[in-house]
Subunit: 887 residues, 2 copies
């Protein structure tokens, strides 16, 4: 057992080394790891090897079954090695998501069927009918809200804004866990089953991402190394595509939509991943429908049957353009309305307090209101209230023309189309009421704290608007517009398709909704009208409002970098020097532990810049806050105190060390002066490698590593303030202190609190020993003249969190996401941010980064010429008042 | 006139300042510039203001026409300000390209028609027919090759590889000029008019890019500032999409294809540009066809009419998968064959020498061979030789089934379909012969030095292959596969669509060919088979060969960074330290002009690192080679020599300066010691700004700028070797040298060549004065431990050309595209590149860049502790043998 646990510890150690290794995905690493783990399984752990070893020897045994078994074994090995490959993961992801999507669709359809059945069965009593119509969704929504609230509040809402943030490299806690997955799937099924105007696209992106995260965690049990963060982020990007793809059976649109919605810069090498997984997922999703005998073969989800030979006339294009522009305004209005509702709910303190107490009241009230208004015998008869979202879409994409086109060809509303027909009103009024009511209903419903998206509701409203325009056109030109002999009637269904793409494109600020409608309807004949409408809608909406997802990001205050709008003039005149924080906390190479303590108290930055000295300010690297904390706690650890105590006792015994001995508290056999100063140059390297890992394992545990201590002793010896004078004596003293590590610590903690305090104060006055700290030697640097635009590009490209601003090696400031966001969002007058003068653009900036930073350079050069010993020069507060000193 | 020219000089000066300003596009800058230029026009130049000023005063004059005129003026102003906006540019680009595309299509159709007419008219004599059939394309191709060769050899070939390189930020000379545009358009028209198996997609990408470049240059005349490089690159990316979009009337496919083919990292914010321009272009392209009465309305280019209700059966999917896999192999073979042909032609020296003499012989021979084989009464009758590429595609996408399906429904080949029918053979044999012959013909034809692409030929071959499989399936299952009551026959046309997408996807390594076929055929019903086949084809082809464009890039040795293949294990174990060049040339801050000369002779790098000193090696920035050259030539310029001479004469007059006076050859009134040492701190800044611009204007012209000279004198005074001792005397001497600038240079060049040489030698021994040089203060830096993978990502993301490798501020090496390419392409054993040990991946690499670079840090720290005056320490050649000195 002892050797077993030791081996396991070795394993842990190696895994620690592995953690976070930078290898952007690509299966090969996973394969490698799979091989390694298999190797370890071979002779690492307890039970498995005993089972496997005989089978591994099979190749050398003689017997009848041996060839078969060898073959099976090789297959098994092959399979295990394949588990780590990307395509296996993508196929599994696609399969799982298709199953989830299909099962959810089935459950939702059942729920809606049940409501219809209940409503239909009670047609004797309108009151009972109303109660059934209203209670059913209220119960479902309330359950969904409560269930989500209890299990995982992170599952609320669309999930696309969160995924956008996560894909930028920011870790949001609990967003990709199994609990959230369950909450989202069940909550979404209930929410959609209620028949409220809610969508499944956004949540599906989130579900697919959680699925990918869980799957990679699951597969890592099998052997593949799925713990690589960069790989996981690439897989998440593919998962987003899968989410859209299997929701609409639209692989291409899914990939494009997910790229547009979640990425800023897209790596084309990941393109195939999304396509592969989304296609597979969409395929399985549709195959399930075929196997379930819902369909005869694989076709589009909302198949249209418009005529192919003459889909539309050129002269209809202005009408399509009108749809596009109106959708643009509508989309912006939707985003605005949605945000205002959320903000109103937050601001109204009395409402808010009441709702906070009874969290489920708000969803219930909203559901009650909406379902009351859609009650078919009531107001619902004027807005096709009895149709589910899917039926609505099917009817809106219908091939026929609803409006009267003369007495002869009176159109008969058959089947579900009947819902749009009202004996006392015409279809135009029904459509207008439908659009207006659904518009605010959708905006309101999507603020309910249940898992839900807004894409589908908006899509339906857009389709209705398109249909309205189409019917108007059809009524206006009963025989079509075409001048030639053939009569080509206008197809209002085509207008519905265009409207759906345009409005959803406007709300989400995407162009790929065009592709989604082609895939949804299975017809691409209206490509030009759709593209024109979508582009116009985007142009209008983007100049008025942020996208729905960006709006939610702002409401939720997620750490995301907003896009630079196009045409914002002032962005070019702002430079890093205008937005950077100048007053930053930094660690110097020659600082004391007390300084570290002050810095930790004074700032909350996650990483601190390390500079050579406060005078030179030459940036050497950055050190993480946790590392600084570890250094500090290590210095003040009880173990060290005990050792110091023991050492003191020893010193008192030997009468050799005076009160300065504190400086050399840990010394081993290797600390003889000569050795310490020459030997560590090269041989120390392997020893150094071990230091961080041992620290991770037991940052405060007193496991004393030989080489580590050797290093420390070296450093401690060197921290003497005046090296040339002090060192000689110091070494001479240190030479005599030899403490064997194997000696037991039997002194116990015999210090009083006061003594401890005193000891700690002494410790804090020591120079910091950075030898065991992890230092990032190349943090990202900008120069003062970098434009805001370039800074934004670099931050988005590299997914940076902060960057240091340097001027010829010297640290002069720092820019973090916060400053950048502030600058972009226009709050240019806040602290540390000033607006450039209008003529700033006329400054001499001769090259992108090739600006001759001559002043600073000259200073350095002057310093170089005038002061051969610049480090002895007095402290320099500012560049400007740098007068020569020391001559 | 004097004031005019002065104003113009001021203008030039400002424009010099503007040049290269980093502002990634976005119209606003252009707007700004337009406003500025308008302003300048208002009171800058000669003729215009006299015309405009009265009109500007119109607003204040009273008159009947005044309001109208004011209105017109405001409109004009508004229009001018709009010229700079992106969408205006994109619309113009789309319009121009649509016109070009349509005109070319028209010309090509006319050419092909002429050949058909000639061939048809001579049907009395087979020999004459043959001559006509063969001569016509040979003449056209030879003309195309000759014309291109003479006018612009850059127009040869596809252009996509070059665009890929240009979009990476590398400037290829003459690739985007008007000459190349003309050569490409005319050459391509002739080449395609010959009926050879050549495509227009690739060249169209190039044509669109040239169009964008020319358009931006043209619009910059109007006032918009179109000289911004980053903006132009974004516009070029949009232009690539336009090229594909207006070639196939496929806007979505065009955008996606251009992204896949040209980008590595794609900025999603540019997405709409491509969509907008490509949609507009495709729209106009198709509208032209409608106006020309070719079409009744806007439809797809190769419209198919497959049945919508049951496009394919699930059980047909394996056949589609087979098409995909076979296409993958076929695509790889095509790329291989194409490359081998090129390499064969290059290697065969005897052939080569002969062909080099008679450049037009090779195209003529190839055309002769191909057209002989396709001669319809000859071998062409077995391979539908009489059909043009377009007709071939139309027939292959035909809705009917060609193979006999029983006696009753014998299919009749009507119209152009007749070409596929041969009385003594069946359609299978014809198809097989067609595929085999066209395969090598296309691979051969695309090596002809004319503007041509390979996409369409490959597309046609793929369609034929798909048709073959489809016909086979149709013959195998005459009544379809579907088990239910309805009989759904197999649609071979659908297979042709799938095959076309799969093979073209395999050759180009793109997935978006799927979208292109949907847009080309106007039907999306086969989406799943197409996606499956394309993905399989890509998977196979990508694992066998590079894409056709990457292959051409390699053949042409363009400076492009190859993609990191997925699954290449060893990439993760290579780090920057393994591939970097350690022996680099650098400029030190305290070097002499002689050193600069040596460096310029010793290296060909375009920019040189500037380090503090050879001992510290702290990287301060990078300086361009041209700058170094300018510094050197300035130092050795005749003007300076003359001045020195004059000065010497003066000195001899005054008997005050000894032979050391060379050091203070240019001194003005401001060079009094005290002033020179204290004053320049701040007031120099504005003066410094002028230095680069005046240098650009006249780098060698003797226009002596007051402030510049003041600076130079300061620097020259300071370059005395031992500042503390020498300066006092130097200043005392310099104080007396006062030369008025306005004094005329009437001394003439009275030096002998020997004297000049001596003077130059003296000059070379002086310290370099960097004050007037442009220095990039923040060149991109990497650390030694950066992985190859990350390096590749950063190079592609930021479009880098080279990066310096630093270790805590110290320059230790350099990586350029060349080293990176070598490392990726696997030539890991060449100079300066060594392979990592296999276990290198197990090294401690705990974070992406967070590796504790403790050894180097410790050295610095030690240096800091041990040597308070590190700059006085002796020169240190290497990090490893860094023993403390100077104590």
């Amino acid at each position: 057992m002892a050797s077993d646990s030791e081996e396991q510890r070795a394993l842990q150690y190696e895994q620690t080394l592995m953690y976070g290794r930078y290898t952007q995905d690509l299966g090969s690493f996973a394969k490698d790891e799979a091989a390694r783990l298999r190797l370890q399984q071979g002779h690492g752990e307890g039970a498995v090897p005993r089972l496997r070893r005989p089978s591994e020897l099979l190749e050398y045994t003689q017997g009848r079954c041996a060839p078969c078994r060898v073959c099976a074994l090789q297959c098994q090995r092959f399979l295990i090695s394949k588990v780590g490959e990307d395509w296996v993961f993508l196929i599994l992801l696609g399969l799982v998501m298709a199953l989830v999507s299909w099962a959810m669709d089935f459950a939702i359809a059942t729920c809606l069927q049940a409501q219809k059945w209940m409503y239909g069965g009670l047609d004797t009593n309108v009151l009972l009918q109303y109660l059934a119509w209203v209670t059913y969704p209220t119960v479902l929504i309330t359950f969904s809200a409560g269930f989500t609230q209890i299990l995982a509040p992170q599952a609320v809402g669309s999930g696309i804004p969160e995924m956008k943030t996560i894909l930028r490299g920011i870790v949001l806690k609990e967003y990709l866990t199994f609990k959230t997955f369950v909450a989202k799937v069940i909550g979404l099924t209930c929410a959609l089953g209620s028949g409220m105007p809610l969508g499944k696209e956004g949540p599906f992106v989130h579900i697919a991402s959680m699925c990918a995260a869980l799957l990679s965690r699951f597969l890592s049990l099998f052997g593949g190394m799925y713990e690589n963060e960069a790989r996981n982020i690439e897989m998440l990007a593919a998962a987003c595509a899968v989410g859209v793809g299997c929701c609409f059976a639209a692989p291409i649109g899914g990939v494009l939509f997910s790229i547009e919605v979640t990425s800023t810069f897209f790596a084309v090498r990941n393109y195939w991943r999304g396509f592969f997984a989304a296609t597979f997922s969409a395929f399985i999703f549709r195959v399930l429908a075929v196997w379930n005998k819902d369909e005869e073969t694989i076709t589009a989800l909302f198949k249209t049957r418009f005529r192919l030979d003459f889909p539309f006339d050129l002269q209809e294009l202005p009408a399509f353009a009108v749809i596009g522009i109106a959708s643009g305004f509508g989309g912006a209005l939707f985003v605005y309305l949605n945000r205002k509702i959320v903000q109103f709910m937050r601001r109204q303190k009395t409402i808010n307090r009441f709702l906070m107490k009874k969290r489920l009241l708000f969803p219930a009230l909203v559901t009650l209101l909406i379902s009351t208004l859609t009650f078919p015998p009531g107001f619902g008869q004027f807005m096709a209230g009895q149709l589910t979202q899917k039926d609505t879409l099917v009817t809106l994409f219908d091939n026929q023309t609803w409006a009267k086109q003369g007495l002869s060809d009176e159109f008969e509303y058959l089947g579900i189309l009947e819902a749009w027909h009202h004996p006392h009103s015409n279809v135009f009024i029904t459509l207008v009421i439908f659009i207006l009511m659904k518009f605010w209903m959708s905006a309101l419903a999507t603020t309910i704290p249940v898992p839900c998206g807004a894409f589908m509701p908006v899509f339906v409203i857009g389709a209705a608007f398109g249909r309205l325009v189409g019917e108007t056109m059809a009524a206006w030109f009963p025989d079509g517009i075409h001048a030639d002999n053939n009569i080509y009637r206008i197809v209002p269904g085509g207008y519905a398709v265009v409207g759906a793409a345009a409005l959803s494109g406007a709300v989400t600020h995407t162009v790929s909704t065009a592709v989604i409608v082609f895939e949804l309807t299975g017809q691409i004949s209206h490509i030009l009208p759709v593209m024109i409408a979508v582009i116009l809608a985007n142009a209008v909406a983007q100049s008025l409002q942020p996208s729905l997802y960006d709006s939610i990001i702002r409401i939720k205050k997620l750490p995301y970098l907003p896009e630079l709008g196009w045409g914002h003039h002032e962005k070019y005149n702002v430079r890093v020097e205008d937005i950077m924080v100048r007053d930053i906390h930094y660690v110097t190479l020659n600082c004391k532990y007390r300084d570290l303590q002050h810095i930790l108290h004074g700032t909350k930055m996650k990483s601190l810049p390390l500079v050579e000295s406060a005078e030179s300010m030459i940036l050497l690297g950055s050190i993480e806050r946790a590392q600084v904390g570890a250094l500090l706690s290590q210095q003040l650890s009880p173990q060290r105190r005990l050792q110091a105590l023991r050492q003191k006792a020893l010193a008192e015994e030997g009468h050799q060390l005076s009160d300065t001995s504190i400086r050399f508290q840990i010394s081993t056999d290797t600390s003889s002066g000569a050795l310490a100063r020459t030997a560590p140059r090269k041989p120390l390297k392997p020893a150094l490698k071990r230091v961080p890992s041992s620290m991770v394992e037991s940052p405060l545990g007193g496991t004393t590593d030989h080489s580590g201590i050797a290093l420390k002793s070296l450093f401690c010896a060197n921290t003497a303030a005046e090296p040339t004078e002090a060192q000689g004596t110091a070494y001479r003293k240190a030479k005599h202190v030899r403490i064997s590590i194997t000696e037991e610590m039997d002194l116990g903690d015999r210090m009083t609190p006061a003594e401890i305090l005193e000891w700690e104060e002494q410790q804090l006055d020591q120079m910091v020993d950075f030898s065991s700290a992890k230092i990032d030697p190349a943090p990202f640097q900008l120069v003062e003249h970098t434009s805001l635009h370039k800074t934004h590009t670099i931050f988005s490209l590299l997914g940076l969190d902060h960057a240091y601003v340097t001027s010829i090696g010297r640290l002069v400031g720092m820019v973090s996401l916060k400053e950048l966001r502030k600058a972009i969002e226009g709050s240019l007058t806040t602290k540390g941010v000033k607006v450039r003068p209008p003529l700033a653009s006329f400054r001499d900036s001769t090259a992108s980064a090739g600006e001759p930073d001559t002043t600073a350079l000259r200073q350095l050069w002057d310093r170089h010429q005038h002061h051969p010993m610049p480090r002895e020069a007095g402290p320099r507060g500012n560049d400007e008042d740098d007068t020569p000193k020391g001559q």
